[in-house]
Amino acid sequence: MSTSQAIYAGWMEIPNSAVQPEARRSAEDAVLAALVDQYATALYRVAYSVLRNPADAEDAVQETFLRVVRHRDTLNEVRDHRVWLIRIVWNIVLDRKRRAKTRPETDDVAELARVLPLTGLSAEEAAAAAQHHAHVLACVEQLPSKEREVLMLSAFEELSSVEIAAVLGITESSVRSRLFRARNLVAGLLNHTRNPK
């Protein structure tokens, strides 16, 4: 069959076109379900690391998948689903955090002590560890946004510097330099708080 014949055959595919959307939709649903199974946990952790509120993080993950549903036609064009999804959730959580600036942050020690896995520690040790984590997080919050974002994403062991660069839309060398600066800054902040002189 020549190309033109095939084109004209396409015009005549009336019964097939009536069935195809359903088949395509079920295939897309299957892909979506697979994406949820595979990446929901990772996306939740990314969202929680920024928002530090379980309910908000879950909402952000849900919004991420709703956006995916809205752009389900372009799913085939996505090269790396994991980085793509992390980028979406990252933008969502940053936007939410920006909008909720007035709301008090959930960095209080009690909340951290409740959430963090502090098994095997006595009550005093657990309280001290939670306090330490809260203090470190407060120092991280003082970093400039560019450095803070790179530092937070670098904490995810499954993300390489190339993938962090893809999530943030910058070059890999920028990721490295920002990470270096962030480490220095946070060390300075922590030392300063330990030795205020």
Partner: protein, 160 residues
């Protein structure tokens, strides 16, 4: 602000502590049943409505469809240009309409050859050149009204 150069180990341990904390936060487990809740939420989401289902051969992404659309646009533009070109005559001489000489209507009013002369406004008078005073003040003869007035004033001053 940079790391402490005198105590590199201190700086390394401080940044390490920060990264440890972030790693602990990043490795927190997701709440149980998250996937199920997400799947339920996605199922409830209304499907994006498709106004028109394209037939297979007419899919907007197909190459031949793009070519046909481009060709149609070119045809429309070229046809429109040709239409305008054929309707507009180039270097057309200007139309001159010879007007008939005006003839006064018989029995109507006529100006009788009167010409209007505009009213002239009287302009400002030119200043006259000052005349040199050659004549001295005339001496008033005694007995006139003015001479009497001046003599009376002189007498009053003398009495005072």
């Amino acid at each position: 602000m940079t790391a402490n150069p005198h105590h590199p180990n201190l700086s390394a341990s401080a940044s390490g502590a920060a990264e440890d904390t972030l790693r602990v936060i990043a490795s927190l487990p997701a709440p149980a049943g998250l996937e199920d809740r997400l799947r339920t939420a996605l199922r409830k989401t209304p499907q994006p409505a498709r106004v028109l289902a394209w037939p297979t051969g007419l899919k907007p992404h197909s190459d031949w469809m793009r070519s046909a659309a481009a060709a149609a646009i070119v045809l429309v533009v070229a046809g429109g240009g040709w239409g305008v070109y054929t309707r507009v005559e180039q270097n057309r001489p200007a139309k001159v309409i010879a007007m008939p000489p005006r003839i006064g209507a018989p029995g109507g009013f006529s100006g009788a050859g009167a010409m209007r002369t505009p009213q002239t406004i009287p302009g400002p008078a030119a200043p006259q050149p000052a005349q040199p005073k050659t004549a001295k003040k005339a001496v008033m003869p005694p007995g006139t009204k003015s001479a009497r007035k001046s003599s009376a004033a002189g007498q009053a001053a003398a009495q005072k």
